[in-house]
Each structure stands twice: as structure tokens, then as C-alpha cells.
Symmetry: C3
């Protein structure tokens, strides 16, 4: 089976799925709903992308079309990150349906009609998916979560599960950016540029995280996300002749912007603009996606790829952002209709509203008696130790 397709497949199902398991009580939904949306989205994407190109009333499926179907689901999974924990599976299936439809229209316009170069899809997937999700999140704003939620945080092991997602995305991003590149030199260039951008970005993310945190510590949220921003940002010009130096400059900028965004911008978006971005997709996909689009305009202006014009590149970026924001607002309004089983504020970020969670089995009722007995034994023991213990006080 085609290794590039497999790499992209791993990014979609393991990468995105586990990246979102950082929430302490939302791991089932992160990886489980990710699988549901991706399995649904790739069928819908395959249908939509090919319904106009049928042969004798049939769609001819190929590995390349399966890669494109995976790509179309990626937009949904990015938007999912913005609304993670605050939406029901039914809402998310509706979002999948609408977002992939709008994505296909925008991609057709940008890539086929405007002939824009976006091999790693910084604009058409990452920026599009992020701003679509942010628009949805804005419409679904929950004032009740203004002061946070006790489950909106990680625990030690959930952060390690998320690192599985991070590392897989990091390792296979060169395949993502080169998957639909022209075979031969352009594909190899896309691999190598992405590789350098990611390596430089990772160092920049570590350095910036250490600079903005107290006592020079590192923050797991930054490492899980900002190390990947270089892959997003180099997407548009991955197959252009930007040289390792260009790729690394893009990567470093992306790593810094992304980390700073997590630290300072995300809280402002939530408090001032009412955009509660659970995973910080604005920092990982939004700003780096725009950076990628801008880098593509610059590279086109410098003639780094034949037949690419800076004007059309700029149109591609504007189109992606426009479709994302308008599409996201409309989709958000449809998702807001109170039929779709939205979780109430207090059940947000909690798997147990949609999943059978085996909490009961961990602490069976019969053990209360045992606990009481244990307590009593301890209490008597401690009373007998009271004098000795008082020495420590």
C-alpha cells in the first residue's frame, strides 16, 4: 500500500485523535469522535470531490483520491479542536457535512480556477479549518464557561497520550506536505523543506516557551502544539525553491508566533471576543496558516516557482479566510438550533455524558464499608500516636 497515503492516514486518525486527548476527562471523545468524524468525512469528501468527474456514472477511486479525502477530513478535525468538549456528536456530524462541502467549493475555486499553489494546504486546509472552527466557536459562545471549567485541563497521563499525537504529526508532516506534490524533485523538495521547517520550529517553540513561562519552565501545551506550527506554515511553499534557509526562517517564525499566541492571545480571544478555543487551533493552524499564505505570496513574488503569481496567491488566502468565516458562522447558527443534544455547561469536557464510563467499577459500592473500617483502624492508630505526632507540629 502506498506509504504516503498511510502516513497521512496515521496523521488523521492517530495524530489528530491523540493530540486532543490532553483533556483529563475527554479522551474517549477525543479519539473516538475523531474516528467517527474522519470515517464519515472521508466518505463524504470522496463523494463530493469526484461527483463532477464521473466516468459512465461511476467514480474511479484511486490512492490519490483517498489522500484528498483524508485531506478534506483534516479541515473538520481542525475545527473540532476549537469546539472540543462543548458539542455533541450530532452537532459535529452536521459540521462535518457542511464544512467539507464548503471546503470542496473553496478548494475547487482556489486550486482549479485561480490556479493557486498550495501543495501543503496552509491556506485551504489549515487556515480554512481553523477560522471555520473559530467562527463556529464564536456562535456557540457559552457565557457559563467564562471562568473556565474544572475539567478543562489536563492530568499527567492525559498529557502523555497527547504527546503520541504530537510526535506522530511531527514525524509524518513531510508526507502530508508532499503527498500531492508533483513526483520527483518537487516532492523531494516538499519533504526536505518541511523537515527543516519542523526542526527549526521545534527549537523555537522550546526556546519561546521557556522565555514566556515563569522560571524558564516549559509548558506542555506549547510543546504539544507549537512544535508543529512549522509544518503548517511551510505548507504553501513546501514545493517551491525556498532553500533550507527559507524553510527554517518560516519554521522559526511559526514556532514563536504559535507559542506567544497560546500564552497571550488565547486568553484575550476568550475574554474579549467570546471565542473559546479549546485546543488553541488559532495558534497551531490559524496564524501559522496565514503565515504560510503570506510566505507563499512572498515566494511567488520572488519567483520561487514557475507560473505562480503573488496576486492569485493573495486571492487564494482571502478566499479561504472568507469562506471559512462566513461558512463557519452559518454552520454555527445551524449547530445552535437546540435539537442536537448539546451538553449543558456543567457537563462540558466530560466523556460521561456521551459514553458509558466505568467510574462505578473503579469504586464499587461494597467498598464503602471497607473504607469505613479502614478509616476507623487508622483513626484508632492515629489517636494512639497522637503524643508522638505532636512532636512534629
Amino acid at each position: 500500500m502506498c506509504p504516503v497515503f498511510q502516513d497521512v492516514h496515521v496523521m488523521i486518525f492517530i495524530g489528530f485523535g491523540f493530540l486532543m486527548t490532553f483533556l483529563k476527562r475527554y479522551g474517549f471523545s477525543s479519539v473516538g469522535i475523531n474516528l467517527l468524524l474522519a470515517a464519515f468525512g472521508l466518505q463524504w469528501g470522496l463523494l463530493l470531490q469526484n461527483i463532477w468527474h464521473m466516468h459512465d456514472g461511476k467514480i474511479r477511486v484511486s490512492i490519490e483520491k483517498m489522500i484528498n479525502a483524508d485531506f478534506s477530513t483534516a479541515t473538520v478535525l481542525i475545527s473540532f479542536g476549537a469546539v472540543l468538549g462543548k458539542t455533541s456528536p450530532v452537532q459535529l456530524l452536521i459540521m462535518t457535512l457542511l464544512e467539507i462541502t464548503i471546503f470542496c467549493i473553496n478548494e475547487h475555486l482556489v486550486v482549479e480556477i485561480l490556479n493557486v499553489s498550495d501543495v501543503g494546504a496552509s491556506m485551504t486546509i489549515h487556515a480554512f479549518g481553523a477560522y471555520f472552527g473559530l467562527a463556529v466557536a464564536r456562535v456557540l459562545y457559552r457565557p457559563g464557561l467564562r471562568n473556565g471549567h474544572e475539567n478543562e485541563g489536563s492530568v499527567y497521563h492525559s498529557d502523555l497520550f497527547a504527546m503520541i499525537g504530537t510526535v506522530y504529526l511531527w514525524m509524518f508532516w513531510p508526507s502530508f506536505n508532499s503527498a500531492i506534490a508533483e513526483p520527483g524533485d518537487p516532492q523531494l523538495r516538499a519533504v526536505i523543506n518541511t523537515y527543516f521547517s519542523l526542526a527549526a520550529c521545534a527549537l523555537a517553540a522550546y526556546a519561546t516557551s521557556s522565555l514566556v513561562e515563569k522560571k524558564g519552565k516549559l509548558d506542555m501545551v506549547h510543546i504539544q502544539n507549537a512544535t508543529l506550527a512549522g509544518g503548517v506554515a511551510v505548507g504553501t511553499c513546501a514545493d517551491m525553491d525556498i532553500q533550507p534557509f527559507g524553510a527554517m526562517a518560516i519554521g522559526i517564525t511559526a514556532g514563536v508566533i504559535s507559542t506567544v499566541g497560546f500564552k497571550f492571545l488565547t486568553p484575550i480571544l476568550a475574554s474579549k471576543l467570546g471565542i473559546q478555543d479549546t485546543c488553541g487551533v488559532h495558534n497551531l493552524h490559524g496564524m501559522p496558516g496565514i503565515l504560510g499564505g503570506l510566505a507563499g505570496i512572498l515566494a511567488a513574488a520572488l519567483g520561487k516557482k514557475d507560473g505562480v503569481s503573488p496576486g492569485y496567491q493573495a486571492c487564494g488566502l482571502a478566499s479561504s479566510l472568507g469562506f471559512a468565516l462566513v461558512g463557519g458562522l452559518i454552520t454555527g447558527l445551524i449547530m445552535k438550533i437546540p435539537f442536537w443534544g448539546q451538553p449543558p455547561d456543567q457537563n462540558c469536557f466530560d466523556d460521561s455524558i456521551f459514553w458509558e464510563v466505568q467510574i462505578g467499577k473503579e469504586r464499587p459500592l461494597k467498598s464503602i464499608r471497607t473504607q469505613c473500617k479502614l478509616f476507623w483502624t487508622n483513626r484508632n492508630y492515629m489517636l494512639s500516636q497522637e503524643l508522638r505526632l505532636n512532636h512534629f507540629d
Copy 2:
């Protein structure tokens, strides 16, 4: 290195290994004994499958033969799922030895002599492995576990580890079903049919899980397993010309059957027939494997592949089931001989009987004093707060 071989290798060692880590106290054995059995089984399988085809007294090893060796271990790992938690490593090594031997005989008969088409091995691996394991489980029936065992369940994080296995199996199943297909069109067809079957099956499993559970919730057991049933069921006719529609019909049927099996059939098998199927292999490999065999008979009757006859396909299914049941009963009787270090009922589903588990290190003895001191401080604090607290009562 050959990517298809690597994909199958990942399914055997990561996929099967982590799929079984769902038990709260049996993760070491799941992934560790899985590695032991697979490492042993692939050597034994390689020897047995090639001992009749030696050149100058030597076996010529190739990637294809290594894929076949991995396949032969898959049967053992499926059967392992049925007896998980209730057997010792020595028992399982004996099972590996016998099961691979019987598998090789059946596969030789079915594939070489009867010329049956079973490219993804729905019959010769999945149905065979499942019914072999169920027959062993029947012989090893433990009346003491009739009412369950406190460790026979999952905790939150163990279910997430199991999802690593599920997602890897789901992603790489197209490689499994196409690994030994004829290169070119048949191989590509096997990839695409399996891809569609899995995508449709995943949706069916989610929908069915939500329908059969209280309040429309999802059950992690169904998601971990039933989403994969489409890969099993499409195996036999993966390389046949069944079109995406056919593949998806098979996938949907498998997803529904598998989920319903977990919900309603597994408890009945345990209580009425004395078959305690820990991982529910009957639902993931047994029934979908038979479904795959039946679909192959139908596809052969409809002429979807040249040179394949429905009668011989039916013989292949019957042979696989017959060898599995008889072989499993005999193997179970040998495994029941009380020499092999079987765990007593109360130590079932517990790693600590076969592994050095670091429980002691988590709660060192010296901290009891600290705990007492902490308790006393709290107690005094709480006494001083008593009046205020009484306001809440």
C-alpha cells in the same frame, strides 16, 4: 523495507497488543505476552510453512514468507483474546505451538488443495482463530468466574491504551487484506474495498452502539472492536469485483452484527454455554469471519472473480470451522493438564501473578507517618471549622 510487511507487523505487535490492554490490571500481560507469543509464533510459522518447500535442505526466506509468518501468529493472538486473563504464559506457548500447526494444515488444504480464494483470510485466520479460541475457552471454563471478577473491567486510561490498538488496526487493515493479493489491480482493489468496508462499518458500529445503550450513549467496548469488524468481513472477497457498494454493505452488516453480539450474545455465551470470551473475539473475528466466508460464496456465485466456485468456497469455510473447533477442543484439553501454572480464579485478570508489579514503590511505607501527620493537621483544622461547616449540612 517493504511497507506492506511493516503495516502487518504493526498490526500484529501494536494493534493486537494494545487492543487487549483494556483490562485495568492486565496491560503488562496483554502487550508483553502478545510480544512473546508473536515472536515465538512467527518462527514456528515460518518453519512449518516452508519445511515442505526446502531448497538443498534450506528454507529460502523472503518478505512474502515473513508476511505469511505474521499471518499465522494472528490466529494465535485472536485465540489469545478469548482466554485473556485466565491462562499462564506456558499454556499460551503450548497453544501457539498447536494452533499454528493446525492452522498450517487447514490453510494448506483450503488454499492450496481446494484452491479457495481467501485473500484477507476471513475464514482461514479470523473465523479459525476465533472458534479455536472459543473451543479452548469452553474446555477451560471456570465456574468460579460465573459472576464476573472485580478485575475484569477497564479503567479510563486502560481504555485509551486499547484505542491505540484499535486505531492502528483500523488504519492498516487495508494492508492486511491486500498483503498477499496479486500485485496490480487486484491488490489495489483489496485496499479500496477494505477501506470502504471499514469506513461504513465504523459508522454502523457507532450508530448501533448508541441505539442499544441507555440514553443513546456510546460504549467503548463496541467502538474498540466493532469498528474493525468490516475489515474482517470483507477479507474473503476483498480482491473480488464487488464494487464499493458491495464492500460497504458487508461493512455495515459486520458493524451491526458485531455490536449486537457484544451487547446481547456474549453474556448468553458465558451464562448458557460456559464460554467466557474475555475480549469478545466471537463478535470481532468469529461472526464477521463467517459473514466474510458467506459473502465470498455469494460473490463467487455471482461470478465476481474468475476461477472461484461457490461450492469450494463453502468447503473452505466448513473446513476452517471444523479444524478450529476440533483443534481447539484438543488443544484445550492439553492446556487443562494441571502442570502449566494456571492462575487460580482469584488471581485471574491480574498481572501481578506473572509480573513484578511496582505497587509497593507507589506507596512507600515511610509515608504512613506523613499521612498521619497530615490527617491530624486536617482534623484539627476541621474541628476548628466545625461550626461553620455545620451551616452546610
Copy 3:
């Protein structure tokens, strides 16, 4: 993208990263600092390895050079295992810089000048990295940790995370040993020899672990590490004509030596020689690496590969050990300069000194009142139950 490169990449980032997450409170650093060092090291390695072969002042990057860059980081990640938990990120970045420099010198000498055959790099990567790390650990000896540290151990889930690393390394080691082999027969031979060595080694490690532990139990430390020693030890002669029998003999020897080393040698190294080897790299990379070098000398003497002389092979082993020990001592002395933010003894093996760890979020302060209330309710309940409970005492 090239599958062999991807496999090696997975070994470096997932394999080494997760293998070291076994420590109960050091998972963030294991996988996070692993990513940092590897992302830094591959850039430095790529620069150093190619600075002498520039074309028109430019380095020509290729997949093969990216594989070599990954290889050069492997030495650092091996050494990282020896000093895991006792060093700061800054110290480790300095180590990366120096170790890769020394590695490049030794590799150039051994492979280019002495024309030594070391396709899987038993000597130049594994033995070199291990003894380099042990020399550093010797210089950084901490008498305060002579009696161990309460965090220097695993918990149940951290051992499962480590198994992710183990299984990935195990599965992809054939790619590691064949990555730079001559395409065609030698490459296939390297794959197959490594496959057999690993399979035999895994069985030997399980058997030996069970033999040396109390009551025949298995120890997770042995399974996580010693199962991989066969991949290390077969490295030098992986592409030689040693036949499966030779590969398996090497694998079995490595599995036994490695397990016995963990059980008996590591405690002696720590207590007698002042070498505190956190991950036991001496057992996984050190001794099996030397074994690989010796097997290569023997294979050369038996004429298993054309143009390879036992004398030069011996020189290659001696050179690798010499550069490792001297280089490690010098590097250790530089790392000992008290500028680099070394953690004090009591903060060793603890992520919270370098990472923002979300302990606070798990038990927010506001819940103390809730806890008190709960305690009080329980206390009153228990007092009312006192008579009944006394029946149990």
C-alpha cells in the same frame, strides 16, 4: 516519502522517546526532551556530516543524508538514557553538540578511513553512545542518590507508555539495520538477519527474566529493554552472510547478557564504580554493541563478507570505545560546570522542575471546603456505625 527513512524517524522520536517514559514522574521530559535533542541533533548532524562535501558552497540534502542525521542523533538519545533524570535541558544540549561532533569524527575514521563494515552501527552508534553516556554519568556521579530516589521507579501506566517505545523499536529495527545497506540482496539480508535476531532475542529475554526473578515472574524492565538487544548485537554483521542460525545465535546471546546485566551488573556499576545508569543503557546498547563488534570480527575472520578484515573490524571497535570514553569524560567535565541549571538531588527524576505540571489543577484549592464537608459527613456516618463496625475488628 521513503519508508525506510520514516521507520528510522519513528524509532528516533517515538521509540526512544517513549522507551524512557517508564519513570513515574519523568514522562514529559523523556518524550519532550527527546524531541528537543533529536530536532536539534539532526540539524547539527546534517551540517557536520556534510560540511566537508559541499558543492558550490552548498550542502546537497537527500533522504540518505537525512537517515544519517537521524543516526547521529541516536547516539545522543542513547547517552541521554544513562543520565536521564539527573541533567538539565541545557546540559543535554551541550552534550548533543559535543557528542555528535565526536561521533562524526569517529564514524569518519572507522567507516571512511579504516573501511570497517558496520551497517547497523553496533559499534559506531550503540557501543559509542552507551559508553559515552556512561562516562558522562561517571563524571556527574551523585553520591546523594546512592540509596536511590523515591521517584526513580515506574508506576503501572508509565510502564505501559514505555512499552509503546519498546514495540516500535522492536518492529522497525530491521529498517534501522538495513537503512544504509547496499540496495538489493545485502539490504534484504540485513532485514532478515535482524528479524531473526530480534525474534530469538525476545524469547531469550523472557526466559532469562523468568529464570532470574523470584517465583519465575517476569520483570517489565527486562522485557522493555532486553528484547531489543538482538537488534543492537546483529547490527555489525547484519548484511553479512551469517545465515538465520548465526543471527539467532547472536540474538539469544544478546538477550541473555542484557537481562543478566540488568539484574546483576547495573546495581554493581552504581555501588562500586559510581556509574548511575538510569535506563540501563549498558545492558541494552553497551554490552550488546560490543557483542556486535566481536561478532563482526568473527564473521570477517570466517569470510562472511568480501573485503572485510578482522583486524580492521577490531580497530573499529577499539576506536569507537576509545572515542566514547575519552569524549564522554571531557563532555562530562564540561557539563559539570555549575552554570547549566543542574537539578538538585531531591528534584531529580521529577518533571516539575523543568515543566509546568498541572498538579494544582487536579486538586483545586476551592475544594478544600468540599473535602472538609465530605469528611465531616463521613465522620458522623462512621460514628453512627461504630458499634456495627466494631464487629469486624
